[in-house]
């Protein structure tokens, strides 16, 4: 544990994080960056609700409002929810399968830095002439017509961070296929690992269509192409298809890991194995598969015709079945169990009715003919906030409390945690429940204001008050993190006492090599099985030996920085700035130069010697 016990200066710590390839540290980077963007997106949400609190408000102007909603959506999906989910995947999945790291640690770091620089690039638009204003869906006719560089920031920023997500997904796939500990068969994998697996497969197939769409639009806006220019024979409906062929799987990319986190929490705090494990796995795979068959339900009003609408309506309803299976399995996991009401369990319990409400409105929306009324109204806004906040954000809060000890070695305060929960839970329902009705009463979404005398005023005020509750909840959560970090009370391997999977069998935080000896997995809930047999830890599957570890590297940072610089060059090249082209070439040189260095310089990593591992033991593994 020498790496953790040594006090390091700030500079050394920073350098350590800039160059790390350790999945646990990358997880922390994802958590910090995703958390930061979550706060930014949350602030944007507060501005939206202030503007809409009363009719004819002028807190922000119409144009600025469109920038705020665009950035709120884009930030929350791409820069907050996805990285936060990635944080837990990175922190937990390799531990759950008994691996020492992901398959490609270097690529893992590269994935993070690409996402980070893409996100920073996108958000710099606020300071460089205005943010994108065509909505997070960036429908082509409006996006092409949008003036200034806002939409260019969107295109290039998402392009860069999208590459990061894609290679992250591939990395997880390879890791799960190849690096499971002895005895960890597919049907013994914890459900969070399963959802990571399916999610990564979704990323692999969903991000390329987005990339294609972004490239086409980038060529239209930056290089004078006409893919979406109707007067030149272009077609904007193509963009809708490309976006939603990505966009619908994307919501499953977000929600499946959330399902995974809750599938860990229910068994742990009910002291009971997951009910219907195999049907849960089956349902996860089925949701992933069906997720690709339903994109056009976002386009029921585009005019695809009754045949397409009917097919996609029925396919969409079908997704309700595996999701229902999951809900009942979770309920039955708790049934007959011994339920302990910890903070993570609060979130998990609240998730069931909240997500169910979002799920049933999803089925309502699937009814194509009725969707003509719901589409693009506040009903839809309410629906997707019920699934994304009630599902993903609840899972992120739950996961943060659950895995905080595993990631940082300290326990978040339970009292403050529950205060956060109640404030957020009340605020969430206060904000979004009434929005179903606003939509049905005739309020379209993405409106910067509404006129009085349409029966919408009081309900909008209620909704805005709710948002304030959520804001306060997040502040309490931040306080909790600060207090916990300052107190710095370290905890042991299994701080919740009822851990079932491999990650709870090793120290918190784990040593940088995770497992001194790879564990032998004898069944589902491997650690629980050993505990029930009266053993203290896992039985090793191999003798103590040298461990091969990768070297840290600064190259992932440089590769991503190069693309970041090149993106500015590409963007300002349109304005005929003389420095733009050289800047783009310079940026690409940085990226390709770094890649060249990576290719020609041999980097074999290093070995931790057996003797050092034994030394660690004698010093007592606790940090």
């Amino acid at each position: 544990m020498s790496t953790y016990s040594q006090k390091k200066g700030f500079g050394a710590t920073l350098w350590d994080f800039l160059t790390t390839v350790d999945h646990k540290k990358i997880a922390i980077l994802y958590l910090i960056a995703g958390g930061f963007f979550f706060l930014v997106g949350g602030l944007e949400a507060i501005f939206i609700r202030i503007q809409l609190a009363v009719p004819n408000n002028d807190f922000v102007s119409a144009g600025l409002f469109n920038e705020i909603i665009t950035m709120h959506g884009t930030t929350m999906i791409f820069l907050a929810a996805m990285p936060l989910v990635f944080a837990f995947m990175n922190a937990v999945m390799p531990l759950q399968i008994g691996a020492r790291d992901v398959a490609f640690p270097f690529v893992n770091a590269l994935g993070f830095w690409l996402f980070f620089f893409g996100g920073v690039f996108l958000n710099l638009s606020w300071f460089l002439g205005g943010a994108p204003d065509a909505g997070w869906t960036s429908y082509a006719s409006l996006a092409i017509a949008s003036k200034g560089h806002g939409v260019d920031f969107y295109l290039l920023g998402l392009q860069i961070s999208g590459i990061g997500t894609l290679i992250g997904g591939i990395n997880f796939l390879v890791t799960i296929i190849n690096m499971r500990a002895p005895g960890m068969t597919y049907m013994r994998m914890p459900l969070f690992t399963w959802t990571t697996f399916v999610t990564s497969a979704l990323i692999l197939f969903a991000f390329p269509p987005l990339t294609v769409g972004l490239v086409l639009m980038m060529f239209d806006r930056l290089f004078g192409a006409n893919f979406f220019e109707v007067s030149m024979g272009g077609n904007t409906v193509i963009w809708e298809h490309l976006f939603w062929i990505f966009g619908h799987p994307e919501v499953y990319i977000l929600i499946l890991p959330a399902f995974g986190i809750f599938s860990e929490i229910f068994p742990i705090f009910s002291r009971k194995r997951l009910f219907g494990y195999s049907s849960m796995v089956f349902a996860t795979v089925l949701i992933g598969f069906l997720g690709f068959m339903v994109w056009a339900h976002h386009m029921f009003t585009t005019g695809l015709g009754p045949v397409a609408n009917a097919i996609f309506a029925v396919a969409t309803m079908a997704i309700g079945v595996p999701t229902g299976i999951k809900i009942f399995n979770w309920l039955l996991t708790m049934w007959g169990g011994s339920v302990k009401f910890t903070t993570p369990m609060h979130w998990a319990l609240a998730f069931i009715p909240s997500f169910l409400a979002g799920g049933v409105t999803g089925v309502m929306l699937a009814s194509a003919a009725a969707d003509y009324q719901y589409h693009d109204t506040y009903f839809v806004v309410a629906h997707f906030h019920y699934v994304i906040v009630g599902g993903v954000v609840f899972a992120v809060f739950a996961g943060t409390h659950l895995y905080w000890p595993k990631m940082f070695g300290t326990m978040l305060n339970e009292v403050l945690g529950k205060i956060t929960f109640w404030l957020f839970f009340i605020g969430f329902h206060l904000t979004f429940f009434i929005q179903h009705f606003l939509g049905l009463w005739g309020m379209p979404r993405r409106v910067f204001t509404y006129l009085p005398g349409q029966g919408l005023s009081a309900s909008n005020m209620v909704s805005s008050v709710g948002a304030a509750f959520m804001g306060v909840a997040v502040i309490v959560m931040l306080l909790n993190i600060i207090i916990t970090s300052v107190k710095n009370v370290k905890v042991g391997n299994d701080p919740w006492g009822d851990g079932r999977t491999l990650e709870w069998s090793i120290p918190s935080p784990p040593p940088f090599y995770n497992f001194k000896q790879l564990p032998l997995v004898r069944g589902l809930d491997a650690y629980w099985l050993e505990k029930m047999d009266g053993k203290k830890g896992m039985t090793p599957a191999e003798p103590l030996g040298d461990i091969h570890m990768p070297n840290s590297s600064f190259l992932p940072f440089m590769m991503s920085l190069g693309l970041f610089i090149a993106a500015f060059g590409a963007m300002y090249h349109v304005d005929k700035e003389p420095w733009a082209l050289p800047l783009m070439i310079f940026g690409l040189l940085v990226t390709f130069g770094s890649m060249f260095m990576r290719s020609v310089k041999d980097d074999h990593g290093f070995h931790i010697h057996k003797e050092d591992l034994i030394d660690d033991d004698e010093k007592g593994v606790k940090a």
Binding site: S141, N309, A313, L332, S338, V339, V363, A369, W441, G442
Partner: protein, 352 residues
């Protein structure tokens, strides 16, 4: 005992009143359907809500039982249950059946709402309206009647009205919530659907429905409202005849209005037509047709219809509709000129 029953009845009415008042405004709400299409959609809403509430009730019952019965009381380890095939089959099959109950009417309604074959029949008398959406205003052309109007749609009640939708700049979406669901106005193709306006319920809504743009289209997306005047077939026919009767611009009455017409002919007529004939292609109609401006209910779709607002609108449209394409297309007007223009425009009426 009887008293108790009375109280029950009163509280029941109170709840009912609450629910009804929670249905929104009759001219805007989808929960106060005022036509065949909105009725079908409302029925689907009710059906799906009913099924879903059933599901919610079952889950909530199990959920509450768990909260009550299975709290941790001691340190015992509960029995580790793998699953139950019987239960799992039940909660797979029952939802499939429930979804089928919803899927059948959904598919049938979807096809019914898309059926515009009546228009293509020989000698069809169906009313067809070509809707063209522009940045923050709507153009309505009646090809059969050979007239054009803008911002305020006039339709006959109790019969199917067919719409051909297209956008001439960015994508918008055409929505009259109380009468039926929306359909996008795409930039590359014409979308078709029909609506029906119920006479009695149109009366309840003051014969004036609110229409909205439902697709983000720029800064003033929120203000891209239009109005729908739903009137009986007789009144509609007489309105059409009156419109068709305007071959030349309506002559201003009085000196002030005449002065206004002069200003209009100098500064405004380049974009705004004041005759209803549809002899120009849709792309040449670059601003709302003002033939019957004086008859309308709102200025620019949003402001109350009076001279004061009209003058405010003309003197600075940007404040009321940010990003509109009218701003800066004409010289700045003095107060006197504004008075004259308002006088003239308010006098543009085809009906009393």
């Amino acid at each position: 005992m009887k008293r108790l029953a009375k109280w029950r009845l009163i509280s029941l009415f109170a709840v009912l009143a609450l629910v009804l008042s929670g249905c929104g405004e009759p001219f805007l709400s989808t929960l106060k359907p005022a036509g065949e299409v909105a009725d079908m959609q409302y029925d689907l809403m009710k059906l799906s809500t009913l099924i879903m509430v059933g599901v919610i009730v079952i889950v909530v019952i199990i959920f509450v039982l768990i909260l009550v019965r299975f709290r941790r009381k001691d340190d015992k380890i509960p029995k580790q249950v793998e699953g139950s095939h019987k239960l799992e089959i039940i909660w797979t099959v029952v939802p499939i059946l429930l979804l089928l109950i919803l899927a059948v009417p959904t598919v049938s309604a979807t096809f019914k709402l898309a059926d515009v074959s009546a228009v293509d029949k020989k000698n069809s008398k169906a009313i067809v309206i070509n809707v063209r959406s522009h940045l923050y205003w709507w153009d309505f052309e009646y090809p059969g009647q050979k007239i054009v109007t803008g911002q305020e749609l006039v339709v006959p009640t109790n019969e199917k009205v067919y719409f051909n939708l297209k956008s001439l700049d960015v994508k918008h979406s055409f929505w009259i919530p109380a009468v039926g669901g929306k359909l996008d106005t795409n930039t590359e193709n014409i979308n078709k659907f029909w609506l029906e306006f119920d006479d009695k319920r149109a009366n309840d809504a003051g014969n004036l429905f609110y229409g909205k743009c439902a697709e983000l289209c720029g800064p003033s997306h929120a203000l891209m409202d239009f109005k729908v005047k739903a009137i009986s077939r007789d009144k509609f026919d007489s309105w059409v005849t009156a419109m068709q009767g305007v071959k030349d611009p309506i002559k201003a009455e009085g000196a002030v209005a005449a002065q206004g017409q002069e200003i209009f002919n100098k500064s405004c007529i380049g974009c705004h037509a004041v005759t209803p004939a549809n002899n120009m292609p849709d792309s040449a109609r670059i601003a709302p047709n003002l033939t019957n401006f004086g008859d309308r209910a709102r200025i620019a779709g949003i402001l109350d219809h009076d001279k004061k607002n009209l003058k405010k609108w003309i003197s600075n449209p940007e404040t009321y509709k940010p990003g509109n394409l009218m701003t800066g297309k004409y010289p700045k007007m003095t107060d006197e000129q504004l008075d004259a223009l308002a006088e003239y425009l308010m006098g543009l009426k085809v009906q009393e």
